[in-house]
Amino acid sequence: MPDPLILIIDDEESMRDSCSQILLKGRYRVETASDGTAGLEKIRALRPDAVIVDLKMPGISGFEVIEELGRIDPRIMAIVVTGYATVESAVEAMKKGAYDFLPKPFTPEELRMILSRALEHRRVALEAETLRREKQLLEENFITMVSHQLRSPLVAIQQYFEVILSDLAGPVEDKPKDMIRRASERLTGLLHLINDWLDLARIDQKGLIGKVKPLDLGRMLRKLVDFIAPSATESGATLEWRGPDNEPFFALGDEESLEQVFTNLLSNAISYNKPGGRVDISLRREPGFIVCEVRDTGIGIAKDHLPLIFDQFYQVSRRESKRGKGSGLGLSIAKKIVEAHDGRIEVSSEPGVGSSFTVWIPASGRSGEGA
């Protein structure tokens, strides 16, 4: 471990020299700067452990240095020194993020003590940060590991059911076939449940959405449709992208979580559809928003259920759905994600005719700046 690096920023040469002398005796490495600007350059380049900065300097003041230091790296400790010690300036300095305040004149002992406390504070903070990061990594790995261990055998079982039910393992009588079909539905439900719980655990762990960036929703949705369309066909429904094409639709979003939202909406639309039904997805612009609509010709949702469908665990009857849907968490997570984007999600439906889910996401400026 190298000795701590201390940067002294003071316009008075005598101060820089005497402080250096004191600190070099105490097993510190020392750098100096004669003004705020030079000091900030050295902070950026050298990343010292602590900075001793004079408040009153020509050019940018000690206050500005402390403020900027906080933006560069708030874990670097700042100790403010000045000959014009007042309560006001002390409070001001602390508010701007200084660790402590040392009025001139001070003894070598006083300087060493205050520096020692500052560095101890830094050490503790850095340690806590490392522990937090390690814990987070462990939890993320744990979640992935548990999910894989739970899913793997279930997926293997389900795969065999799929083969049997597709008549690819030889003829099966109706009665056992029905039972296997039923078993397979229950298994699908369980797999969905694990996915949903996994989502919840990860959301808890990481926060609901990642960093929001300008995202071309048109491109994202077209890719999604390409991917999902074959399985839609296999379920007896037609999934179609209704455009428009050839123009970007930039919204401010986190790609991963928005994909989750639209995957959920599309797979619901497919699952709850009539045989030979349609699912259409399209985009349009509204002032300040990009709006995506997912329409299906499915069984629809009863009027009194409509306000409840985004509630956690709420599940509309599965009597007519092709495969058992999951835990009912999907739509509630989707709504939370959309709202975390400062957007909204709406539904309209007519039982027996179909449903339409509309998602509003804040638009991003053409060049990628915020709306």
Partner: protein, 135 residues
Amino acid sequence: MTTSRLKIMVIDDDPDFRAAMTAILTSVPYDVVAAAGVADAKPKILAERPDLILLDIMMDSLFDGFSLCHSLKTSKEFEAVRTTPVIFVSAVKDLAGSRFGFKGEEQGMAGPDDYIDKPVAPADLLARIDRLLKR
């Protein structure tokens, strides 16, 4: 006119998955060649020259599947089989970020021709294979 059957290679460390895929594929009929992992697969690909490859990306390390795909599509070693379509098969939906946005692309890795989730719906799999073989 004799037409030989098309040959599909299944690369997966799970013997149950290999058995299930074999049942699905031989029903078409396709010929099936199986490999239990990347090391097992490499010499078999060159020897058997499959018409399409199903590649599980949940074997031991995520990287194995991704890097095999990249090798198949870009390296000199596999030049003779470069145009072989590859379908990624995955049991866990979002490893390495979004499964639709193959993150490997951001690191300059060549991606697969299609993706499919486990458990595989036989009709879905056969439709995707058909689409790729017709190209």
